[in-house]
Structures are given as structure tokens and as C-alpha cells.
Subunit: 230 residues, 2 copies
């Protein structure tokens, strides 16, 4: 069944009509959705609404809600990523949505390569990944901050996936919230490395692989934590 | 240090000269390598050779080996993948090299989307991923075969990453060779699913994530097995 993202509340009722316009309507028109077709509406806040299309006009698509299902947030994994190049960062956003990462912290560091700010393009990219992966939760995208500030503010366990060999085991149970920390393409500087390693919330994990590009590192790290939790 | 792939034997000696020509030489010329520059030569068979560039001509680059280091194959993870679209398959090849997957089995299945055959483009893609990731081993790329034939021929443990909820735990120790099996974008057919699940070598793993594109599934699955082995 085709899916669409709409900004509706979890409290939307069966029988309610929902209007989709702008880019989202355009996208559905391009794939030629038809009146009476069934469609899955995702609100990125935990609900999936099964709907039928009750009207298709040039500018709008109207859905009628048939049934709905709410699911509590399942993932306890968040991602702090020192910004790689723009393309790689956009790949990472898509991958993070597919993997159900619940919050993303874009970090600046000495060797980070990109200044991030939230814009329409990023919003559309997250929405499209949400729809493709049938993820029920749109991840929260934090404002860019420095690695140093992030380490000061954060109180949760951090799993730092380091390219260097390291043997510190995860100190925390993997039941609670955990933040994956991944460096930029050139790695963190020596000064940053010590800042990270000396932080009491940090466990260092070395994946026994060749050098990973940042998007591959994100997916492998989430997989690693899921495997570790078994 | 810049790296280059060359088809030389592990027995290549210190002081030996190695000639690089064709596409590989062209690539080094594009990035303007210079005489006396240090370079890392990888042979994809476990050796890294530290070398200096002793000559740069229009068509050739000559390296002189300074030292070498051999490492035994570390990864016991292989990948059997029902062929997705060509672009996704090429992404998977890159990701598999980064992650150090030692062998790749391209499988045809009812919903697979692409006919694979080894060609120069695939070879160059593997080489370039090898150089970028400093992987010491070029993965073996098996010929395409059907899922059915693969299941009949194979005697190793298989970790089937299924989109459906499933609770069968890995029966084997993760010390020995293990093959990750991943379906095509549309999943396996019902008939194929039972063929897989009934196979005595198969353990079924469900990653608790939204729907993954095949390349993301590959990276997350390798990460999962690495985490599980901890």
C-alpha cells in the first residue's frame, strides 16, 4: 500500500477527512493515485492511519480515515554525528530514519566538513525516508552544536565508535537510551579524542572492519547495538 | 597516505619495482602523484606494501617497495544477497568491501530485480572500495545462482535477516564462518520463505527497525553479527 506523511494529530478520528496539498499532493499526483484507492497515512508521531482517497483535485488530495493504530516509540538509539560532507550527511539522515533512530545531533568538530541548518530540503528528505521505510516516528533533529558542548550537556550513555583499536566495554545496559557517536571522515583530532574518552558517559567500541564511510558506519553501529542487546 | 590496488603477489620483495598502468595509472595521474611520494599498495590478498613512486611517465607509474606487512583474513562473514536493482547492488558491493565481507553470493529469486554478471565496471568498483577502505582482502564474488541452488549447495550456517517478526536464535557460534542472507526489495516469495526457514543451516533474525533498503540492511546485519559476537 502506498504511504504518505501528513501532519495530523494522533487524536484524528475514524471518518475524519484530511487534506493533503503542496509538494505532498504533487508527489501523489505524479504516481497517479486514484479516488477510492487505499493509502497509509503516517504522522511521524507514532500513528498509522489507514485511509481511502475520497477526492483528487489539481491541488489537493483528500483522505478519509478508516482505521488507525498507535505504537509507542520502540527505539532507544540516538545518533550524534560529526558532520561529514553534505551528500554523506543526507545519506545518513535517510539511513537513520530507516533504522528508527529517534534523535540526531549534528556536531561540528575540528575536521567536520559541513555547516548544517534545518531547511525544507532536509524536511522533505526525512519525510520521504519515513514513508519509504514505514517508520512511525520522525526523528528529532537537534540544532548543530560543537562536540565540546554536546559532551558537556549530555547525561546519557554514549557509544563512541572509534576507528582506533580500543577495548572499553559498554558500561551501561542497552535497555536505556544510548547515543551513538561517530566522527567525521578525517576522524576526531587528538584533543577531541581525549575529551571523548575521558567523558564518564562514554564507552569506546572498535568495529573490526576496514575503514567505513560515515553512512556505512551509522548503519553498522546501529546493527552492532541491536546485536549486543541480544 | 594515498593507496593503490595492484595485482602483485604476497611474495613481492623489498626493493622490487612494480609497474602500474592503464586505468589505475590514469587515476593516480589525475590526483597528481609525484616522484618520491609515498604510497600504499594493496594487493587484495592480505598484503600492504609501503612504497615510493620511482617514476611517473605518461602511461605508467613505477613503485619501489620499501616494506610490507601481511595479515591473515580476519572476517568470517559472507553475504548472500537476492539481487536488488543495479544501483543498490553496486552500493552493496562497496559497503561489503568496507565491512570486510569475504565472499558475496549474488542470488536470483522470484522478486529479484537484476541479472548480474561480472564485468570491468564491477571489478573497478571493488578495487576503488578496497583502496578507500584500506581493506586488505578483495572479496570473492561468486557467480549468480538461484536461491534454491544456493541453499542446496551451502553447508555453512546462514543468518537470514527477515522483515517478518521471527524469534529463532542463532544456533551456531559466531566464531565460525557465517553467511548473511538478505532478500530482494520485495522480499522473498512465500514459497521461498518456507524453503529458507526449513533449511537446517538457517537461523532467522528480525531487526527491530522500520523497512530497510538493501544496502542499509547489509551494513546493519554485519554490525548485528559483530555485536552478537561480543
Amino acid at each position: 500500500m502506498r504511504a504518505v506523511y501528513c501532519e495530523i494529530e494522533n487524536s484524528t478520528q475514524i471518518g475524519d477527512e484530511v487534506v493533503i496539498d503542496g509538494d505532498r499532493a504533487h508527489h501523489l499526483q505524479v504516481v497517479r493515485v486514484k479516488k477510492d484507492e487505499e493509502i497509509l497515512a503516517l504522522n511521524g508521531k507514532g500513528s498509522q492511519f489507514f485511509a481511502t482517497i475520497s477526492e483528487v483535485t489539481k491541488k489537493e488530495i483528500v483522505l478519509k480515515i478508516i482505521s488507525s493504530k498507535f505504537q509507542n516509540l520502540k527505539s532507544n538509539i540516538e545518533l550524534a554525528i560529526a558532520l561529514p560532507k553534505k551528500d554523506a550527511f543526507e545519506d545518513i539522515l535517510k539511513i537513520a530514519v530507516e533504522l528508527g533512530v529517534s534523535k540526531i545531533y549534528p556536531l561540528s568538530s575540528e575536521f567536520s566538513q559541513y555547516e548544517y541548518s534545518f531547511n525544507d530540503r532536509v524536511g522533505r528528505l526525512l519525510e520521504s525516508a519515513l514513508v519509504q521505510s514505514n517508520n512511525l516516528y520522525l526523528p528529532i533533529l537537534a540544532d548543530q552544536e560543537s562536540l565540546g558542548q554536546f559532551l558537556i550537556d549530555n547525561k546519557s550513555p554514549i557509544a563512541y565508535f572509534s576507528a582506533a583499536n580500543s577495548e572499553i566495554k559498554l558500561k551501561q545496559s542497552t535497555e536505556e537510551k544510548i547515543i551513538i557517536l561517530i566522527g567525521p571522515e578525517g576522524g576526531f583530532s587528538e584533543r577531541e579524542e581525549s575529551q571523548i574518552i575521558e567523558n564518564e558517559n562514554v564507552s569506546v567500541i572498535h568495529l573490526p572492519t576496514p575503514i567505513l564511510r560515515a553512512p556505512t558506519a551509522v548503519a553498522a553501529s546501529v546493527g552492532y547495538l541491536l546485536g549486543l542487546a541480544q
